[in-house]
Symmetry: C2
Subunit: 236 residues, 2 copies
């Protein structure tokens, strides 16, 4: 945790109360003491510094001040075939940490039906993982996550509008075009499931304007493909 | 698994015998049957195709032929502060999947001493993870992994020789220089532990020729930093 992300519920004037997971982290991992300074952020707001003014058995009080805007948002909408639950948790943390602010988790023939049943897809569980990613990266803006468990209606009725005004790319190993470097424009990027999108799905995406691009001769898992693609499209 | 990686022990002339983990994968995940074709590679050798000629309860026989060289090696030596065991396993898979062929796992003040005790650092356990990464990526060349559990002697006595002829970079959030894009030269890249290298360590690395570079305003975990940095330094 490189930033303690606060919600307005936790704050009253310039005093914040820390309990639960965040308190445990302060106490056990950071071994924070009264008088220490910690970096804080207001969820969907500014970042700043806080001084610890009191610590007891299960809570800490902080005097907070906010003055710095969060890092710039990536001009990216990510369309991701729903990963298996074990990987979903990490993926949500990663996309939040990398600055993605809009994510569609979609179905695909190679997404197992059971993946849609995982409790990690509950809104509060998604938010929990996203917040861990923001706290890691020092960011405050919560990504929006949308679930679309039918591929065809999503692509036909919704995706065409989503990609308007953006460069639409689909990561696909079987293509001759490498992923572009340093895109200055808005990008919509689709990444398939383990085993990839099937030819029909690539064709549907292609029909509405997605260009297939590859990441080199090696086939990467989604956990490596996401940072590799984002880092190439939007270098710092 | 996008490639079945075979060792010379498994092969006699052009016949290979598949048992254990690889057999289970063929049978349960790929639901392979006699007559099916699968992609194969010889460890540290060529890649090719195989036809399944027989399957029984605990083994399969393949008729193999090798004709294709593995993907090109990345001109990169990676120096990584030893990650915590949970992350180490994934990191070994990732670096193998991304094409890194030389990895030094080193100590740093912020590496917990207990991390060096993990059984994942046994040579056979390291190799197991590396092979999973190669099978994912479709590659055959096993990375070399070196363990260096003393920071100062490693940097003073060994690292200066390692970086000769390469561009030496250390990932460090507190610097003004962004990580370069599309390096054509050899690179030696150092990545710190959770919480980063301490100033003394950065100074030691700097003294022998490492330039600090950043990856943007967000602080990434090693599991995201590695693919993000590699993808930026060596676009396909």
């Amino acid at each position: 945790m490189n930033l303690l992300l606060l919600t307005s519920d936790q704050c009253c004037d310039n005093v914040a109360t820390i309990i639960g997971r965040q308190f445990e982290h302060l106490r056990v991992v950071q071994r924070a003491e009264v008088g220490d300074s910690v970096r804080v952020g207001m969820l969907n707001g500014l970042m700043g510094e806080a001084i610890i003014t009191a610590i007891d058995n299960n809570r800490a009080s902080l005097e907070v001040s906010f003055d710095t805007p969060p890092p710039e948002v990536l001009p990216l909408t990510l369309i991701l075939a729903l990963p298996r639950p074990k990987m979903l948790r990490r993926t949500l943390q990663s996309i939040a940490a990398m600055g993605v602010k809009k994510l569609y988790l979609i179905n695909s023939v190679r997404v197992e039906k059971s993946f849609w049943q995982t409790p990690i897809l509950k809104p509060e569980a998604i938010e929990e993982q996203l917040i861990l990613g923001l706290e890691q990266a020092k960011d405050t803006l919560l990504p929006e996550v949308y679930l679309r468990n039918l591929f065809k209606p999503f692509v036909e009725d919704e995706l065409e509008d989503i990609i308007k005004g953006s460069q639409a790319l689909v990561a696909h190993p079987d293509t001759a075009t490498p992923c572009p470097i340093d895109c200055s424009a808005e990008v919509t990027l689709a990444i398939g499931p383990e085993g990839g999108f099937i030819p029909y799905e690539i064709e549907k995406l292609n029909q509405i304007g997605f260009d297939p691009v590859h990441l080199g001769p090696r086939i990467l898992r989604v956990e490596n493909a996401v940072p590799a693609l984002i880092s190439r499209l939007f270098p710092a």
